[in-house]
């Protein structure tokens, strides 16, 4: 490839190659108009390349952060972790996310569907929804004194089952204390084969004495506590 020297500076010369491209090269005592064949071309500054690389890196980091945040959010808020079935007799199933918030409620029988008519659990926690559903059941005449509420918890871990069981029993007991005397049963969910979906854990937090947990199919009723609440008027 031949080059014509187009411009000479102290440190470099501008050359035109036969392909119509202009180059900067080391000025080896060149003269304008001279034709050379073996110039030492200047290496193009990699600033643009680096800027592009940095931009790409920035986008990649931002995408990774977004993915991390989204994955975490998705796992915590958008994936069902636990299902809680309330059986009064209207049967209702609540789906909870990892944070214990109610994602969805569905009636499991005709009365359950009636109970949920016009009800939305949007942005409510499990305790509020449970109390509201019990309240609606009382109002609609499904639950009265001497009745029974079975809370079936399908949790992935024993610890979660224990925690939710304790919480729900305590809250319901407090909620119904002054209105109705009902029996509350907290049971661990088991599938058709009789297997619990709860993975046994080495360290299970001990439940307070006020909570009774029952394994339904095995008839292992740990304890039963009748909550008899005095009616202020009665």
């Amino acid at each position: 490839m031949k080059y014509i020297i187009m411009e000479c500076h102290v440190s470099y010369a501008v050359l035109l190659d036969e392909g119509g491209r202009f180059w900067r090269a080391a000025n080896r005592q060149y003269q304008i108009g001279q034709t050379v064949e073996d110039p030492v071309l200047m290496k193009e500054s990699d600033t643009v390349k680096k800027m592009k690389m940095r931009a790409a890196m920035g986008i990649a980091v931002a995408a990774a952060c977004f993915l991390l945040v989204f994955t975490s959010y998705y796992r915590d808020y958008m994936v069902m972790e636990t299902a809680v079935c309330l059986t009064i007799n209207p049967s209702v199933r609540m789906e909870l996310n990892r944070k214990g918030q109610v994602m969805n409620v569905a009636g499991l029988n005709e009365d359950g569907r009636k109970l949920l008519e016009g009800y939305s659990p949007a942005s409510k926690d499990r305790l509020s929804v449970t109390k509201e559903l019990i309240g609606r059941a009382v109002e609609m005449g499904y639950l009265s004194a001497g009745g029974m509420v079975v809370v079936d918890i399908d949790a992935p871990e024993e610890a979660i089952f224990q925690r939710y069981g304790v919480e729900l029993r305590k809250e319901l007991a407090e909620y119904l204390e002054d209105t109705l005397a009902v029996e509350i049963q907290i049971v661990k969910h088991e599938d058709e084969t009789g297997k619990s979906s709860v993975k046994p854990e080495e360290t299970v937090p001990s439940a307070p004495k006020t909570v009774q947990i029952k394994k339904s199919n095995q008839s292992l009723r740990c304890s039963r506590r009748m909550i008899r609440c005095r009616n202020n008027q009665g």
Binding site: M1, K2, I4, M6, E7, H9, V10, S11, Y12, V14, L16, E18, G19, G20, R21, F22, W23, R24, A25, A26, N27, R28, Q29, Q31, I32, G33, Q34, T35, V40, M42, K43, E44, S45, D46, T47
Partner: protein, 241 residues
């Protein structure tokens, strides 16, 4: 510390202004020479040392590539000079054992190139160089009307094969449409819309390489036979070499 601050200011000015770059390089010529001599482990013979030219262009590259985050300028330039000289030495090693046409055959006598048959004689080469020089000077004058220098053109010249091909397509089209060149000379504007439509080249590409295209358009106009002769392969629509 203050001196370094001043130098960094000069470097940043030299990035934008070629005259400032020349001034800075001239004032730091002793530094460049000393770095080169240190690398070569011998004193420089200024007239003949290609290494000094390499070191100077490396210094120029250091100016263009320097950023404040890269530490002090002179150590940065020193590293770049050494790297460039190493590259040059490696390249030269490949040609070791080859004779240079400019090498004198005897003390004060003719060079090898002068003795070889079929070589252009000195007078002819000198005439040709002068003719080329006058064309280049005329072209430089025309470019100056557009506020463009050859350095600007070199900086604006596309490097990507696809863009080079697009520019050649435009040049070919301009060569075949003299009225387009006349319009360009009359108005001083590149008809971007027409070229983009006719050559199927993105408008953005034309705008991005405007200075380069100005130089090519001027070369396509009458009066630059030697330069056009140099580019004949491209003007005939040849592929990239």
């Amino acid at each position: 510390m203050n001196e370094e601050h001043v130098l960094v200011g000069q470097v940043y000015e030299a990035k934008e202004d070629m005259e400032a770059a020349d001034r800075l390089i001239s004032s730091y010529l002793p530094f460049v020479k000393s770095e080169t001599a240190k690398y070569l482990k011998r004193p420089l013979i200024e007239e003949n040392d290609d290494e000094l030219s390499i070191a100077m262009i490396a210094f120029h590259e250091a100016i263009r590539g320097y950023a404040k985050g890269r530490g002090a300028f002179l150590p940065f330039a020193s590293v770049l000079i050494k790297n460039r000289l190493t590259d040059y030495m490696r390249r030269e090693r490949k040609h070791r054992g080859h004779l240079s046409l400019d090498m004198p055959l005897e003390e004060g006598g003719d060079t090898l190139g002068m003795r070889l048959p079929g070589q252009e004689d000195e007078q002819e080469a000198c005439d040709r160089r002068d003719a080329t020089k006058s064309e280049i000077e005329e072209l430089a004058g025309q470019l100056a009307r557009f506020g463009v220098s050859f350095t600007d053109v070199a900086e604006n010249c596309p490097r990507q094969k696809r863009t080079v091909c697009a520019c050649r397509k435009i040049m070919e089209y301009a060569g075949g449409n003299p009225e387009l060149l006349e319009e360009f000379l009359r108005t001083g504007r590149i008809p971007v819309t027409r070229l983009s439509r006719e050559c199927h080249v993105e408008r953005k590409t034309l705008e991005r390489h405007r200075k380069y295209l100005i130089a090519l358009f001027l070369i396509c106009t009458n009066g630059y036979e030697i330069i056009r002769g140099h580019l004949k392969y491209v003007l005939k629509g040849g592929a990239d070499q």
